[in-house]
Amino acid sequence: MTTAAWICLLSPLAAALVITLAGTRISRRMAGRLATLSTFVSFGAAVWAFVLMLGRAGDDRREVSTAWTWLTAGELRFDLSILVDPLSVFMMLVISGVGSLIVGYSIGYMDGDDEERRYFAYMALFVFSMLLLVQSANFLLLLAGWGLVGLASYLLIGFNQQRPSAVAAAKKAFIMNAIGDATIALALFLLIWEVGSLSLDFTSGGEGVPLDGTVATLVALGLLGGAVAKSAQIPLHTWLPDAMEGPTPVSALIHAATMVTAGVYMLVRLSPVFEAAPEVQDLAAGLGALTLVVAGLIALVQTDIKRVIAYSTMSQIGYMFLGAGLAAYGNAMFHLMTHAFFKALLFLGAGIVIHALAGEQDMRRMGGLRARLPRTYLAMLVGGLALAGMPPLSGFFSKDSILASALAAGTYGQVLFAAGLLGVFLTGLYTFRMLFIVFGGKASTHVQEHLHVPRRSEPALWMALTVGSLAVLSVIGGWLQIAGVWHPLSDFLHTAAEPKVEPSVTQDWVTAAISVSLGLAGIALAWWFYGARRTKVPEATAIRRALEHKLYFDEAYDALFYRPAAAVAREFGRWIERPLIGGSVSAAAAGARGLGGRVRLAQTGLLRNYALALAGGLAVLTVVFLSLSS
């Protein structure tokens, strides 16, 4: 089992290294094929590990494999070891599966770009880092994977290095993630202090965590900070919309399917820690619910097609946080998987649209694409319906399982349930707003001029096949867990993370009925405004302006954090750096120069002076030697 896990982990790393070292010796498309092959190999290894695991009994499904001891410090020991248990195998399947489809799609999307090799090397690096994150058996390695994923995200967001907006977005993403990294590190320091070890042994269930009280709360808070940053939840969410500057497959893989779900993975994997600090867990659920609603509202006024999907991602991850925060781990992971399918599908479909319109991303310039890109429309429709939670598509099953768990989780849970229902309505509304604007109505002038349907070719084939596969998965993916009927997924994950809430059958059915109706209501409203009727959208200028400015979070952060820091740096530069530090260096240089200038005067060039110096020196030395030897 662990052999398979190692192959799964190292295959993309090997591809990244080969592509980097081969440089221009391999063609650009070969780089793409290499990267795709490596991720497919990774997926194959994950499937193999999964099959092997199924052959074992429930409590025997956990294995740790150590490569070597990474570092020792006093009594602390950190190994390079990977953990293979149901949760990590589940994540491996999702990451490598969806990852290989997206990397394959990139062969088509990035075709013709000059820097394709760099792109595929970075993508392979990312897949490796994400796998490292989910396979690590101790906190330190997890943090290493965490940081590497952030690095890969930075590299890929800023992939178009010539665009200042892309570079700025990459920096923003990295810095906000770094804040999360810092809180995790602080939590780890506390852990080392209190417990003396960073291994994830307690995740085998049943043993609990040797933490309680304030320490547990602080540790959990630190970990939550990192999760919030990585998963773009409020308050550390402002980087995700900007991250859309990266190429579309990057947005699909990193900012929809995998990296942003790392926070959810952390909440589930480290659930014993959070259960030892229940206030923090409730906080996580609350933040999830808040983000869910706010992101849904902001998505209503976005004009960039990718930004709509980005805010949708933020909202759906809010659902996952909600589920994990209420200890419904299996359901949260289920939604993670289905969300990966339909969100990646939506992004990749949007990528086809953007490609066909020569890079145009503004929805106001689109329209009437249903007739011109019929298969893409069908795929996006499937994705949109899945996102809105319409049966029998996957999103219905997974989202409703979370909502039902909320309903079953006491008063607090019921408040969050209400928020979740509002989110369902908003999801239907903004998703179909996007679909109707882009695909419905008449073709705009921009479309008529610039539409270019790709011909049959290898790149186009890659794009079509991968999108098609994701559409199929979005349809059938939800059938893995039908509430009240069968739940193999929850059972599988049970040993790794035991959920603490189980909704009753009644609650499941009630939730299903309400959420489907709300979703349909949202779709109907979207049709009313943006569909065939095209009624004018109500003005509500103040609210609209606030939403368009993303509730002024960016401006607030700028005023609260950036400006003071910049001012402090400027004053330091003026009063300390330049006069003191720069001055001391200049003074040393001036001193050396002055001294040299004085000493230079002894070089008269006159033979007699030099000879006199010799004779005088000889005289003095003779006296010295005589007196010393007597």
């Binding site: 230079r600 005067l601 002894a602 070089q603 008269t604 060039g605 006159l606 033979l607 007699r608 000879a611 006199l612 004779a615």
Partner: protein, 102 residues
């Protein structure tokens, strides 16, 4: 044969050395500087021979012969330099030949 002690020869040698040094430091013509240098070398030679006689070892005389050979070589090169300088119509004055000034 009896004669003055070795001490006396050594004082003569010391005087020669000091005189040669004074000549090197005082004179401006490179020719005379070279001649003064020769005096210094001869002073050293005399000291070597005197010590050789005192201890009955011939090593001092051997050393003195080597010194003579080296002095001869040095004179060759020095005179070559002086002739080259004179050919370029420069003043033969060590105070004026100071292009190595820093």
């Amino acid at each position: 044969m009896m004669g003055p002690e070795v001490n006396a020869y050594l004082i003569v040698a010391a005087f020669l050395f000091a005189t040669g040094a004074a000549g090197v430091l005082l004179r401006r013509s490179p020719l005379v500087v070279l001649l003064s240098l020769e005096i210094m070398l001869n002073g050293a030679n005399l000291a070597l021979i005197a010590f050789s006689r005192r201890f009955g070892e011939l090593d001092g005389q051997v050393f003195a012969l080597a010194v003579m050979a080296v002095a001869a070589s040095e004179v060759v090169v020095g005179l070559g330099l002086i002739v080259a300088i004179a050919r370029r119509r420069l003043d033969l004055d060590v105070d004026k030949l100071s292009t190595l000034r820093g």
